[in-house]
């Protein structure tokens, strides 16, 4: 009898469904919320071995978004950020603001401000979604604009054993709080192939105009090439990833750098991540120095809303002493 009572909501729903006209479609019955709000914030404690003054304890990021589905094909997305992370300027502004048209999974078009579709790490660069607190050096140094204002055409094509993701974009302007690119046209593409759901290999290219900044006062046309691979050495357990970046700086010497990482998933909640970084660092006097880093992270996804990381990172620049940074990070999604 208890089972019968527990079925009442279902019976009611089915009765209502049954009474609907035959023209009721699946899309009408299953439409997700037209307007969704969400976001995340984090709390970080970090300390470097330079002394107590270098410790940091604050909320480095607060992100909030609004996602509006106007129809099955049209969508608007707005994401705002407030960043006050160690090593970067305080910044509040739009992270993403675009209108999207979905012809289907193989073809989508965005117009507005979007994240530059560059490789693997940049694609998931939010502190809440990445698996280390310290960014890879090739990302920390802002070698290319990570935000683009313009148009992006992208999609996924599936054919048997392979999946192809592509993105082609043209920008009028690309900049963020630490990057200066001029208000001139830029363009680029990102293309990757995922074979047997085990190994994703891709290439990103971008051409843009650079106005110069403090550490890199060399304006001109620049080209970024990013080659990347991600392989499941043991499916769902052990992942290996490498991204190699090459930056052509017009008149100045080119720069290059890479990172390589291994991530081991103990289970669906715990993982261990090790990353090695090596990159060229430009200096105002036109010299280029090498920097490398080792980063070890233990991560825990406590719930679908709460994530934690403990991390140790050692970084060394040519002619300088080694710096060790320890951190505890807590991310909360709302």
């Amino acid at each position: 009898m208890r089972n019968l009572f527990s079925l009442w909501p279902i019976i009611l729903a089915l009765t209502i469904t049954a009474q609907e006209t035959p023209t009721t479609t699946w899309q009408e019955q299953s439409q997700p919320d037209r307007l969704q709000f969400g976001g995340w914030m984090d709390l970080l404690y970090s300390n470097t071995d330079h002394g107590a003054d270098d410790s940091y304890f604050d909320l480095p990021h607060i992100y909030a978004y609004a996602d509006a589905h106007f129809s099955d094909r049209w969508r608007g997305f707005m994401e705002m950020r407030r960043v006050n992370a160690p090593g970067s300027k305080e910044d509040t502004g739009f992270e993403r603001l675009y209108l999207e048209y979905r012809h289907g999974i193989p073809l989508k078009i965005r117009v507005g401000r979007f994240n530059t579709p560059a490789g693997l790490w940049q694609h998931m660069h939010w502190a809440y979604t990445i698996d280390s607190t310290e960014k890879p050096l090739i990302e920390q140094k802002h070698f290319f604009p990570t935000e683009s204002d313009g148009i992006q055409i992208f999609g996924t094509l599936v054919n048997g054993m392979s999946e192809v993701e592509y993105s082609v974009f043209g920008t009028y302007q690309g900049e963020n709080n630490t990057f200066n690119s001029s208000n001139e046209m830029g363009y680029g593409f990102d293309l990757n192939v995922n074979l047997w759901e085990r190994s994703k290999t891709g290439l990103f290219f971008q051409n843009f105009q650079f106005e110069g900044q403090k550490l890199d006062p060399n304006p001109g046309t620049r080209q970024t090439i990013l080659a990347y691979n991600e392989t499941q050495l043991i499916p769902m357990k052990l992942l290996w990833r490498t991204e190699y970046l090459y930056l052509d700086r017009d008149e100045a010497d080119s720069l290059s750098g890479y990172y390589s990482k291994l991530r081991y998933n103990f289970n669906a909640r715990w993982f261990l991540n090790y990353r090695y970084d090596d990159t060229d660092i430009p200096e105002p006097n036109q010299q280029i120095r090498k920097q490398h880093a080792n980063t070890l992270t233990l991560g825990f996804h406590a719930t679908s809303f709460l994530r934690l990381r403990a991390e140790v990172s050692q970084s060394k620049t040519e002619l300088e002493t080694e710096t060790t940074t320890s951190s505890i990070w807590i991310g909360y999604r709302f």
């Binding site: 089972n3 019968l4 079925l7 279902i10 019976i11 729903a13 089915l14 009765t15 469904t17 049954a18 479609t25 699946w26 019955q29 299953s30 997700p32 969400g38 995340w40 996602d67 969508r75 997305f77 999207e100 289907g104 999974i105 694609h123 998931m124 939010w126 809440y128 979604t129 996924t156 599936v158 054993m161 999946e163 759901e197 499916p235 769902m236 357990k237 998933n265 289970n267 669906a268 909640r269 996804h301 679908s304 999604r333």
Partner: protein, 143 residues
Amino acid sequence: MFALICILFILPQSEITSADDILIITSASSPLDAVSKRELRQLFLKKTDTIQRNRVTPIQLKTDHPIRQQFDQLVFGSPFNAENYWVEQKFLAGEAPPVEVTHEAFVLIFVKRNEGLIGYVHKNLIGEVKRLGLKVLTLKPKG
């Protein structure tokens, strides 16, 4: 429709013993006869909306439903965390998971009423699946 409602009264409580106890179902008019795990992965991760050139739409049970957990285990393997995956997809690409329902009865009804849907239920419901005239898809041994 009255008969359909009556069916729900006698729906047995599904007891999962292994992942093989799951029936992959679609509408009778679907030209599909068999699907591979890879095709199901690509479909339920919303990487495609076609299988063997047929337009399809996935419908799934809520993440805490035991049959959903068995389906995820069967199709994605361990330690796939569906909740984490879709949280990240929402941030990265604005993608929402396939439509989720709370009860297998809804899967049966929706698949019956909407051509091109693919869902799954426990094999104990084979009687209801046949009564509703739904097609059970064979799981290809490879892929």
